[in-house]
């Protein structure tokens, strides 16, 4: 795959440059360009590839520790999309936003082009691999010679699989201690507690088996644990509608997980343990009530419900100074309730988190550096300078280390301080494996040749070892891939078999090195003792993780699922408190502790306890490339160094702060217009009771407006009006014979189909994986990077200006509406994915003066980019506001707003045209996939099989909420779902648009006592 790809695949990516630049000329000569173009063939043709036809290489996602299976869609030598691996037991074909965005890490414009070395004047300058390796070998030799190898240090970003073992072997060969496996996101306390209670680090959480779920600050849908499998399980549970589990969330802040709960109990940070004890009966309700500021009655009811309902599932994820105690108490509670074995399954454990070093260990290592005891530091993937509180002064500690080697591929804060950078391959370029579950090996293989002059760290280490006569013998394998295959259970044959499915059975070689003695962490005072007037909650951003996602524009432009803010840090503050302080959304607040202060705009939020402010973690980089540097603030700057004494887990929620209003103001960069539905029925829900009534037919009038009702006549052979309106006959008196290719009897037969989609709001958790999947599939530009800033916007040179003007391009967006809560009480969050509804009577079509949008016979609302002149009338007339306009030349490399700077353009999907300046675009129901399937079927002389393919959003959805297909054909799943009794069309009653998207109402589970309406 290493030769030049044929341009034919690439050319389309720069589409509309013609229309943009040479527009006048092309108008005259009919858009046929006469630039000299070369057809560059392969030198030797790789056998397994066909030009313009994708190969899918099964591999493993390395964006977080979980190790989901992915398929690398590769064409003409370029991997341009990651899709979930359906055969993988962990993620079953789903993939989260961070996993989707891995490809932007691969082509990141700010990656190191090759090895770098710090020169005399202290600058990092490019060098050659030979020179770099020579220097490295020499330093290693020096350290060994000096006899200080024992105190050398290797910090590795945590990953499961063989690499830790390999690494420890290598280190041992040099006489160095085992490496530290770093994952700032891992909940060390819960892991330690699980080890103690169950003997595994992360039991399988079977939400679907539960009748009641109580989460005490465990954000299992955000970043807590292995969120994709957890989300799949949770969605499956919620899809059981009537007997789905009721979900109660206890915590100071209503996270995305909390927003999916039927009930939110707002408690003070630090009081979780008291609540857990109260629930288990160990503690008294009154203490818990006073500590947590929760009414006794509420706790009483919850305890009663908990004892009354079986099976149930209780989780804890609060990261305080008593985290492990809490986790143990919850595990004990689960045991009492008989959850272990039914909803908590230690025998199906997730092993991805085995071997993670505790934060205390890392801290001890840093102390060692500061004390000058570390002669040589090697860092791969981890970025402690960013992820540990500034109070720890890692930077200073690093300066005490004589020689620092970074294997990072990106210029992050840590590698910028190192003396030698040996950039690692991106996961998509490297070999490896992971052990996500017991007896499951998830293999990792490269999808393509390296983009830049990087080398896989394991190979570098082998090369170094080979160069060292003392240990060369230990590393006979020519490279890491061989090393893997040699040790793979079953040898190369089973390895090859595993490569095809992406997963194999067996257990990878364990690390030979002895576990390091756990560091004794210095305990921190309980949060209630700290000084300040408000509690500070620092939580990992759902999209940016530990900050490693911050250099990917998709993730930066990815609105926070709860607050819908992007390209910006913010301080969440309760609305009552805000009124008291005279703070309004956008007022810049100063959050101060003894350790420091940060300033960020306030976001007035119902979903946070009134004594608490919260800041997301992951932004505030000072380096790490053009998309990350200088965006937002890093809350770690104000955190004290405190640990949970038992587990050595870092206490993120450990301090109070003083919050003051600076008087400055900055508009909040949000995609949210109005957070309320104003009774327009966009996101609808019913309670379990109403659902039962519906099933029993006791709610006729509600059913009337739904598809499938015989209130509109439609063509024979096409069942629902939704299918019939593809022919435009539902509301017009057009005669059958006048329909031409819109008649099902037409020779083309296209009109026999009606592409449609159902979105099950009971399943949807609002995680927005579909949004990123759409960006990846449809070449959607990101518009709000600092360099794309428009100087006519409110802000100058600051990220987000285009989004302040509402110019984000998300073809599918997650709308989050609040229900209730105006009185400061509990409230409900409704998530509804909004995309082009492909209306049968589309208001956008008749107003286009040039046929740039029209209704295709198979029921698509087609947007023809190259015909569009940009009157934008269609968008004015679209009631769903799902049409997006290219205000700038996002797709034109010559323009300052070009969205894919050098190498990012390699990620573009060759099947989809990149839109140029001044044209309208919108969701196409992935028409390129439809056509591809049709072509494939034609080539194989058959019809398209039911559910043969699906859209990108549906494919990625970790909740399996989206279903796509042909509503006119009973064999497709969507045809059945479209007639579900929960189904409704948005705005159908007001506007008679006959959308092709059917939403299935969310189902709420009110507390047994007070049955609140939806």
């Amino acid at each position: 795959m290493s030769e030049n790809p044929t341009p034919s695949g690439v050319r389309r990516r720069e589409f509309l440059k013609i229309l943009g630049a040479g527009g006048v000329a092309t108008a005259a000569i009919g858009c046929s360009s006469d630039r000299v173009e070369k057809l560059i063939p392969y030198l030797n043709h790789p056998d397994e590839t066909v030009p313009m036809v994708s190969n899918y290489y099964a591999s493993t996602c390395r964006e977080c520790s979980a190790g989901c299976g992915v398929l690398l869609e590769t064409r003409d030598g370029r991997t341009f999309k990651l899709e979930g691996n359906p055969d993988h037991p962990l993620n079953r074909g789903a993939l989260c936003a961070r996993g989707q965005a891995a490809v932007q890490g691969l082509y990141n414009p700010d990656r190191y082009r090759g090895p770098m070395v710090r020169n005399a004047s202290g600058q990092l300058v490019p060098t050659t691999w030979d020179a770099a390796l020579k220097l490295m070998a020499q330093k290693l030799g020096a350290v060994q010679a000096g006899g200080r190898a024992g105190s050398a240090l290797f910090l590795n970003r945590h990953e499961s699989g063989s690499f830790p073992a390999f690494l420890d072997e290598w280190l041992a060969a040099y006489g160095m201690p085992a490496h530290l496996s770093v994952d700032p996101l891992a909940d060390n306390a819960v892991i330690a507690a699980n080890r103690q209670s169950y003997g595994v680090s992360w039991p399988w959480l079977a939400f679907s088996a539960a009748k009641l779920i109580v989460s005490i600050g465990a954000d299992f849908l955000d970043a807590w644990g292995a969120n994709v499998p957890q989300q799949l399980e949770f969605a499956d549970a919620r899809a059981r509608l009537a007997d789905a589990p009721r979900f109660v969330y206890v915590g100071p802040r209503r996270s995305l997980t909390g927003c999916n709960a039927d009930q939110w109990i707002a408690c003070r940070p630090g009081s979780e343990l008291a609540i857990a004890n109260a629930l288990s009966g160990k503690g008294s309700l009154d203490e818990a009530a006073t500590a947590s500021d929760v009414p006794v009655a509420t706790l009483q009811a919850l305890r009663a419900e908990l004892t009354g309902t079986r099976p149930s599932l209780v989780l804890s994820g609060a990261s305080g100074t008593d985290a492990m105690e809490l986790a143990l108490a919850v595990n004990e509670l689960n045991r009492q309730l008989g959850a272990v074995g039914t909803t908590v399954l230690p025998d199906r454990a997730i092993t991805s988190f085995d071997g993670i070093a505790t934060d205390a260990d890392v801290n001890a290592a840093i102390d060692a550096m500061r004390a000058g005891q570390v002669p040589l530091l090697m860092i791969r993937g981890a970025n402690p300078v960013f992820t540990t509180p500034r109070y720890v002064a890692v930077a200073d500690a690093l300066r005490k280390v004589p020689f620092k080697v970074s294997f990072s591929s990106y210029p992050d804060e840590t590698s910028e301080l190192c003396d030698l950078v040996l950039p690692d391959h991106h996961a998509i370029e490297s070999w490896g494996d992971a052990q996500p579950m017991a007896n499951v090996i998830s293999v990792q293989q490269p999808g393509m040749a390296p983009v830049y002059d990087t080398r896989q760290t394991a190979d570098v280490l082998i090369t170094l070892a080979k160069a060292n006569p003392g240990i060369a013998s230990k590393f006979a394998a020519p490279n890491y891939m061989r090393w893997l295959i040699d040790r793979y259970p079953g040898g190369s044959t089973s390895f090859t078999l595993a490569l095809e499915k992406g997963v194999g059975t067996g257990t990878v070689a364990a690390s030979p090195a002895p576990r390091r003695p756990p560091a004794t962490p210095k305990s921190a005072p309980s949060i209630s003792q700290t000084a300040g007037d408000m509690y500070l909650v620092v939580y990992p951003s759902a999209s940016l993780g530990d900050g490693s996602g911050a250099n990917k524009p998709w993730l930066q432009e990815f609105p926070d699922p709860v607050t819908k803010i992007c390209w910006q840090s913010w301080v969440e503050i309760n609305q009552q408190t805000a009124v008291k302080l005279g703070v309004d959304t956008g007022d810049i607040l100063r959050v101060k502790t003894a350790q420091g202060a940060v300033e960020a705009p306030a976001y007035v939020f119902m979903g946070i306890h009134k004594d608490t402010v919260a800041i997301p973690f992951g932004l505030g980089h000072t380096a790490y490339g053009r998309y990350a540097a200088g965006i937002g603030v890093n809350p770690a700057d104000v955190l004290p160094v405190g640990f949970d004494a038992k587990s050595g887990a870092f206490a993120w929620t450990a301090t109070k702060v003083t919050v003051t209003k600076t008087g400055a103001y900055t508009p909040i960069v949000t995609t949210e217009g109005s957070a309320r539905q104003h009774g327009r029925g966009i996101a609808q829900a019913l309670t379990v009771q109403e659902l039962a009534d519906l099933a029993a037919g006791r709610e006729k009038e509600k059913v009337e407006a739904m598809p499938g009702m015989p209130n509109t006549e439609y063509l024979p052979g096409l069942r629902s009006p939704m299918a019939a309106d593809a022919q435009g006959v539902v509301s017009s008196d057009i005669k059958h014979k006048e329909q031409g290719m819109y008649s099902p009897d037409h020779w083309s037969g296209m009109a026999k189909r009606r592409w449609a989609m159902t979105v099950d709001l009971a399943r949807c958790t609002g995680c927005q994986a579909c949004v990123t999947a759409c960006y990846a599939e449809n070449n959607i530009p990101t518009v709000a990077a600092p360099y794309q800033e428009v100087h006519t916007a409110f802000l100058h040179g600051v990220a987000g200006g285009n989004i302040l003007k509402g110019r984000e391009m998300n073809w599918i967006r997650l709308e989050r509406y609040w229900e209730g809560g105006e009185d400061g009480g509990d409230f409900e969050a409704r998530f509804v994915p909004m995309l082009c509804q492909h209306c049968g009577n589309a208001p956008c079509e008749p107003v286009c003066p040039v046929y740039a949008t029209y209704h295709s016979p198979d029921g698509l609302n087609v947007q023809v980019y190259n015909r569009c002149v940009g009157t934008r009338y269609c968008s004015n007339n679209c009631p769903y506001k799902v049409r997006y306009f290219n205000w700038f030349g996002y797709g034109e490399p010559a323009r300052p707003q070009y969205a894919w700077p050098e190498r990012l353009s390699w990620q573009l999907n060759p099947d989809v045209t990149v839109r140029g300046k001044g044209v309208m675009e919108k969701c196409s129901f992935c028409v390129q996939r439809i056509r591809e399937a049709e072509h494939r079927a034609k080539a194989e002389g058959r019809a398209v099989r039911p559910d043969e393919f699906t859209t990108s959003c549906a494919q990625a959805c970790p909740s399996r909420a989206i279903t796509f297909g042909d509503a006119a054909d009973n064999d497709w799943t969507v045809a059945k779902l479209a007639l579900d009794q929960r189904g409704y069309h948005v705005f159908q009653e007001q506007l008679n648009t006959f959308p092709a998207v059917v939403y299935l109402k969310k189902v709420n589970h009110p507390a047994p006592a007070a049955s609140a309406g939806a």
């Binding site: 017009s732 006048e738 009577n841 008749p846």
Partner: protein, 166 residues
């Protein structure tokens, strides 16, 4: 083409002169006047202008064309927009109306040009700058033998200047 042109200062004088000339049956009479006056229009009893005919035909042609073009195109590209019938006459009425007005008025102007024989390359004989300012002119196309009488008649009715032109 030869004849006599008489320049008058007063309107009624012109009227009287023309009356006399008509009695004289000297030849074709044409009048030049700075502004249209009904008196003069009624003395030379011409048929009504036929410009209206051009207007009618132009208007009809425009209306027809305005319906034909969109309907033909709808037939050429039978694409459904907004679930509406492919050829739908209601919106096409607007096109038809506008084209009726457009082509109708252009035809009217054409009619004016043709009937009034403008644009003219030459001013021909018998014109005088004063006729566009304040004076009335009477042009009588007559053979030389009648010229004496005509000149006499014009002078007698108060022509300030009488001259023969050829």
């Amino acid at each position: 083409m030869q004849g006599i042109v008489g320049v008058f200062r007063e309107l009624d004088a012109t009227v009287d002169a023309v009356h006399a000339l008509k009695k004289l049956r000297a030849g074709n009479i044409d009048i030049y006047t700075p502004a249209p006056r009904h008196e003069l229009e009624h003395i030379l009893t011409h048929r009504a202008s036929i410009v209206r005919l051009y207007t009618l035909l132009g208007g009809l042609a425009g209306a027809t064309f305005g319906y034909w073009i969109p309907i033909w195109i709808s037939d050429y590209w039978p694409l459904v927009v907004g679930g509406k019938p492919v050829p739908s006459w209601v919106p096409y009425t607007i096109i038809s109306f506008e084209l009726m007005v457009l082509i109708g008025s252009l035809a009217t102007v054409a009619g004016l040009f043709i009937t009034a024989r403008i644009p003219r390359i030459t001013m021909t004989v018998g014109y005088d700058e004063r006729f566009s300012n304040a004076n009335f002119g009477v042009w009588v196309e007559c053979p030389p033998d009648k010229q004496a009488d005509v000149t006499e008649t014009l002078k007698q009715h108060g022509a300030t200047e009488v001259r023969g032109e050829r």
